[in-house]
């Protein structure tokens, strides 16, 4: 296939053309600083406010509870560092899971070095957080529970409502990293008992470089950046109006298309999963079979290594990703795949495919054909496969 097949939408998405169009005037024509008093800048203030309101409505929050950041990672960092600091008098204990994004895990490691205590709760074989373990981890000094809404690698959706209820019953703040879930699944912070939520625009057709942190009214949290009244004084710095406008547009489209889009993606996803599992032996699906993001499929192919698979897919114009060590720049394969109980050698051979509204059945068929061909080729090269065949 001549055309590129992009199957890495969990990494980032194409900025929707309507989003780009909405943003453009705010670079060259409507370039005023929202903090200025003159009429020219008032339009920018209005655009920013509207963006905030649209996003707030999307999660059932109030616009004053939405704080723009430069990324989901920044929102995660802020949520963790600034909350624990503000609630230090109560205690210094945080609960999170073993399969969080590094934006959470590395921030927790940093906080541990600063003297905070962190409990990393296990997940089951499908990647669902063990709630009994979570409950047992709660101490009088626990100030924050941070559990991701849906996993970025294996797509498993967490029992957010139950976690929200547990947090509330123990008077503990609940933060969720919803970077992968926002725009893919319905989220209502009140119904789910969420106190803080991180998200990012570029995962749903918005621009890269903007995210937000939802902070429920009344929560004490330290300011992230000092030096101005922007974002209610909590994150100073001139606001990125064009990106906020783009984010708004992306959210509007994501909400308006959610039902049809995700139904279609689910159909494609399930077709992909069915074909791969039926046609490629010694393959497993990682993550929960049904309780997963509509656009995510993650497989492990035994006896092969993920980076090789990715390069060969790339040679066929297919973009996907893997949890192999070689793609992470470290020695260990994905912490998520290890946490769901995969042995190292199987975790090395993983493939993540994440769809968008743009993908077609034809692309999926072509991709499965290629994956099948490449896995076979790599297995023929693999001494592990040789050993397996001999033992059989």
């Amino acid at each position: 296939m001549e055309k590129k097949i992009y199957l890495d939408n969990a990494a980032t998405t194409r900025t929707r053309p309507e989003v780009v169009e909405a943003m453009l005037p705010y670079f060259s024509e409507l370039y005023g600083n929202p903090s200025s008093v003159y009429e020219f800048a008032a339009q920018n203030k209005k655009a920013l406010d509207e963006g905030r309101t649209t996003i707030a409505n999307a999660i059932g929050a109030e616009s004053a509870e939405i704080y723009f950041t430069a990324s989901g990672t920044e929102a995660d960092n802020w949520a963790l560092k600034a909350t624990v600091e503000a609630y230090e008098a109560k205690g210094k204990h945080i609960i999170t899971s073993k399969i969080e994004h590094h934006a959470i895990l590395h921030t927790c490691e940093y906080l541990q070095k600063k003297g905070y205590e962190v409990t990393y709760v296990d997940v089951d074989e499908y990647g669902i957080v063990k709630l009994d373990q979570l409950k047992k981890a709660i101490r009088p000094t626990t100030v924050l529970i941070s559990i991701m809404f849906a996993n970025n690698e294996i797509g498993t959706i967490q029992p957010i409502k139950e976690i929200g209820a547990i947090a509330k019953a123990h008077n503990i703040l609940f933060h969720t990293d919803a970077v992968q879930a926002f725009g893919q699944v319905d989220i209502n912070v009140d119904e789910l008992g969420i106190d803080m939520l991180s998200a990012s625009a570029h995962k749903l057709g918005g621009p890269k470089g903007i995210g937000f942190l939802y902070i429920r009214k009344g929560i004490r949290i330290r300011s992230l950046i000092h030096g101005g009244a922007q974002e209610r004084g909590r994150r100073a710095g001139t606001e990125n109006v064009p990106f906020a406008v783009g984010f708004k547009k992306a959210v509007e489209i994501a909400l308006a298309t959610m039902k049809d889009r995700t139904n279609r993606e689910k159909e494609l996803r399930d077709y992909l999963i069915k074909r791969v599992l039926a046609e490629i032996p010694y393959t497993r699906l990682n993550g929960h079979r049904t309780n997963r993001l509509p656009n995510n499929a993650n497989f492990s192919f035994q006896f092969i290594e993920g980076e090789s698979l990715l390069i060969m897919l790339d040679m066929n114009n297919i973009c996907a990703s893997s949890g192999s060590a070689c793609t992470s720049g470290s020695l260990d394969p994905s912490h998520v795949l290890l946490s769901i109980g995969l042995p190292h050698e199987i975790a090395h051979g993983s493939l993540r495919i994440s769809l968008s509204h743009e993908n077609t059945l034809e692309e999926i068929d072509y991709t499965v054909d290629k994956v099948k061909e490449i896995v076979e080729k790599l297995r023929n090269m693999s001494p592990l496969y040789d050993d397996f065949v001999r033992k059989r």
Binding site: E305, I311, M312, M315, C326, L331, H344, E345, M381, P383
Partner: protein
């Protein structure tokens, strides 16, 4: 990320396969770290490597270093083959990204392991050949510098 040579050896690996009744077979690396190389050598009575084949489980660089290593030792004498270093492997590939240099060490080690096996089978001692390490990852550092 990879040079043209690496991509070439990865997509068209030379001497991939196995040799039945090989004079020496060496397997190094471990699945835990994501790379295993197995080298097969066919060595004649004059100690010349007549044929060499490999099988590798690993990333693009692991496959490419195995492939180029087989080219470097094919037709060489045993004494010449033990002098093929990982540096020669890297040079033959026009370089490797720093995180992938361990693959070239693995390739060197795989050749040595196959030669060791050959020497053991034949009951001879190859001068200058040390007993290969079973796990190449023991002696190099994958730690990423921590910045806080």
């Amino acid at each position: 990320m990879y040079t043209k040579k690496v991509m070439d050896h990865f997509s068209n690996p030379r001497n991939m396969g196995e040799i039945e009744n090989a004079s020496g077979i060496g397997t190094v690396g471990n699945a835990k770290c994501g790379d295993i190389m197995r080298m097969y050598l066919d060595i004649d009575e004059n100690d010349v490597i007549q044929d060499v084949k490999f099988k590798t489980f690993g990333c693009g660089a692991a496959v490419a270093t195995s492939s180029v290593a087989t080219e470097l030792v094919k037709g060489k004498t045993v004494q010449e083959a033990i002098k093929v270093t990982n540096k020669a492997v890297v040079e033959a590939l026009d370089g490797l990204p720093p995180v992938k240099v361990h693959c070239s060490l693995l390739a060197e080690e795989a050749i040595h392991a196959a030669l060791w096996d050959y020497a053991e089978k034949k009951g001879i001692k190859i001068e200058g050949l040390k007993k290969p390490k079973s796990d190449i990852h023991d002696h190099h550092d994958h730690e990423v510098e921590e910045i806080y």
